[in-house]
């Protein structure tokens, strides 16, 4: 068996789910047009990407719908301070501008906390843009955050966004620009390492889109950190789809991003994707012991493990750009969430690291379990000799007894 070939084949699946250069170009054009439209309506604002589109970790969410488009998130930050307006007024300002548009009105879905503009398919897939309205966070709040922050320099870009409470809109502090700055600070050396190869490959595969290799935007580069995040996000989607309440208990992407980047901090930037994945899932197996070991015992057995913490008996994963944001808040409401999370981490290691030792047939079978049979067949065809499996009909299936 050729381990390197298997690694490349796994990456091919992830590349298949990544945003294409054509789609990237299109999405960029569309969000800039949206920003120009808002400006034409007298709204002075910055429109910028947040989440996976900003971080370069987009994957198509195909698990529930094989033809699903990309969900891209943007912030529309109006040039105003938190004190200048109310969350409801800010929301109404953007809503009125979008609904009054002939172009966007028909494509618009209004949610409690964002507006979604859905675009028609380009090629095989469509995409939607989620717009979150925002204003600059008050200086007073920023000063408080800076006192508590592990990275005070990141706080200056904090924003306030409308959050729906049962009867009223309130402000919620967020800081996507600060998060991106933190992410880039650690990811950039990894990115630089992969850039030359990456852009040659993108150019080879997309020479109808770009006239020269220099035209390729660095945002399309994928470092080992970004690839590991994409792998984990897709594996998570497939894994949690087996649970009746999978959507509620699965780890949010911000948890995956933060864990991967924090763990990669200080590692040699030329590490390969699968060596990094191996390192991270091995670390997570250590963190899994936090579930059973008393805190003091854990800390003395594993010093300096503070990516996932327990403080005052509460799980904690700090958002590096917002000290008041515990990304693991939900873990403290339902103890099944951390339990399934660590179970999932161990399955990632089994499926995407340990499987390299298996026979071709077993490897294929494991990867089908990890990424879904259809996705694997679409990308790999008949490679690694798949054997069709006989389906089990749930309705009359045997239930173990005794």
């Amino acid at each position: 068996m050729n381990t390197q070939e298997r690694k490349n084949d796994l990456l091919q699946i992830i590349e298949h789910l990544d945003i294409t250069p054509t789609m990237y170009k299109n999405a960029e054009e569309k969000y800039k047009n949206l920003a120009a439209y808002l400006e034409s309506k007298g709204i002075e604002a910055d429109m910028y990407p947040q989440g996976s589109f900003a971080l370069g970790t987009v994957i198509r969410p195909t698990v529930r719908d094989p033809n699903a488009g990309y969900d891209l998130d943007f912030v529309c930050q109006v040039h105003a301070m938190r004190e200048d307006t109310t969350p409801a007024e800010l929301r109404k300002l953007i809503e009125d501008a979008l609904t009054s548009s002939d172009l966007y009105g028909g494509k618009l879905t209004i949610h409690d906390e964002c507006f979604t503009v859905t675009y028609a398919n380009i090629g095989n897939y469509g995409f939607s843009i989620d717009i979150v309205p925002a204003v600059n966070e008050s200086e007073q709040v920023k000063a408080c955050l800076q006192q508590k922050a592990a990275y005070p320099d990141l706080i200056s870009t904090s924003i306030a966004i409308p959050k729906k409470e049962p009867d009223v809109y309130t402000w919620l502090t967020n800081n996507p620009k600060g998060y991106l700055a933190w992410f880039n600070g650690i990811n950039n050396p990894f990115s630089e390492h992969s850039w030359e190869n990456s852009r040659e490959k993108i150019f080879r595969e997309n020479n109808a889109v770009y006239a020269s290799v220099e035209e390729i935007p660095p945002a399309l580069n994928r470092s080992s950190i970004q690839r590991v995040i994409q792998i984990l996000k897709y594996h998570r989607d497939v894994f949690y789809s087996k649970y009746p309440n999978g959507e509620d208990i699965k780890p949010i992407s911000a948890i995956i991003n933060t864990i991967v980047v924090k763990m990669a901090d200080g590692i040699r930037p030329d590490i390969s994707v699968f060596d990094l994945l191996d390192f991270i899932t091995t670390e997570l197996a250590i963190y899994a012991e936090r579930q059973k070991l008393p805190e003091q015992m854990f800390s003395s057995k594993y010093p300096n493990r503070n990516v996932i913490q327990i403080q005052d008996n509460k799980w904690m994963i700090c958002n590096p750009a917002n000290p008041e944001d515990n990304l693991a808040d939900k873990w403290n409401e339902d103890m099944r969430i951390p339990r399934v999370f660590f179970r999932w981490c161990s399955c990632v290691h089994h499926d995407l690291i340990d499987s390299f030792k298996e026979s071709d047939e077993a490897f294929r079978s494991i990867v089908e379990g990890a990424f879904g049979q259809k996705m694997v067949s679409d990308v790999w065809g008949e490679k690694y000799r798949p054997i069709p499996a006989r389906p089990i009909q749930a309705l009359h299936a045997a239930k173990p007894w005794g």
Binding site: G369, I392, A397, A398, K399, G402
Partner: protein
């Protein structure tokens, strides 16, 4: 009940599809098969393709159902449905007996019970949940089997219906449904109760199970 000739025929059919198994003992009392069972099943896009070393015992000329022994400890002891004695906990005998009331089929039994058992085990190990549900231990699991068969919403009402079937010897569609709904049987669970009156073999299985439930309840199991 399988005769020796039936058993031999069915074993040879099974060996054509499960080529890793072979006959390790054959007598007028039982046939034993040993070797590797290949499980190649999928549910909700999760495939299990794996060989398990087993011993499969097929009693001959007896009411006892075939059973499977895990000869190489492949089932983790911590699995809540590992063994009863040394036999794998495939399903309640009630389910299996009713499924094969018109004649036992070894190939179908292996596919529907043995392969599904191993699949369920792998799924549980990975996700911590049972893909098709589970049965409670002991007689509660048997009552649950009737709950499914009779489409009743809880175990207590299921026992009421089982008692009714066992004690009222003729089907009376105009009686109040023993499920407690206050409707007549024919407009309530009649569709599921009636077969127990039309087929005395089904009724016998239910009577035997009810007796076993009483016995276990009395012993406080």
């Amino acid at each position: 009940m399988l005769t020796y000739e039936d058993a031999v025929t069915q074993v040879s059919e099974l060996l054509q599809v499960q080529t890793g198994l072979s006959v390790s003992k054959s007598s007028e009392e039982e046939i034993q098969l040993s070797g590797a069972l290949f499980v190649n099943r999928v549910y909700r896009d999760f495939p299990v393709r794996k060989h398990y070393r087993i011993k499969l015992v097929i009693p001959v000329g007896s009411e006892e159902l075939p059973y499977v022994l895990d000869t190489e400890n492949q089932i983790d002891n911590t699995y809540p449905h590992a063994f009863t004695g040394k036999k794998l906990c495939l399903e309640t005998p009630t389910s299996i007996r009713i499924q094969y009331i018109d004649g036992f089929n070894l190939v179908s039994w292996v596919q529907n019970y043995v392969e599904v058992y191993f699949f369920t085990y792998e799924y549980y190990k990975r996700y911590g949940i049972y893909p098709f549900g589970e049965r409670a231990h002991g007689y509660c699991g048997i009552v649950q089997t009737y709950k499914d068969l009779l489409h009743i919403d809880n175990e207590i009402n299921t026992i009421h219906v089982m008692k009714y079937i066992s004690t009222v010897k003729v089907y009376r569609g105009h009686h109040r449904c023993p499920c407690g709904s206050n409707k007549r049987i024919r407009s309530c669970h009649g569709e599921y109760i009636k077969p127990f009156y039309e087929d005395c073999r089904l009724r016998k299985i239910l009577d035997d199970d009810l007796l076993e439930c009483y016995r276990e309840a009395k012993e406080g199991k």
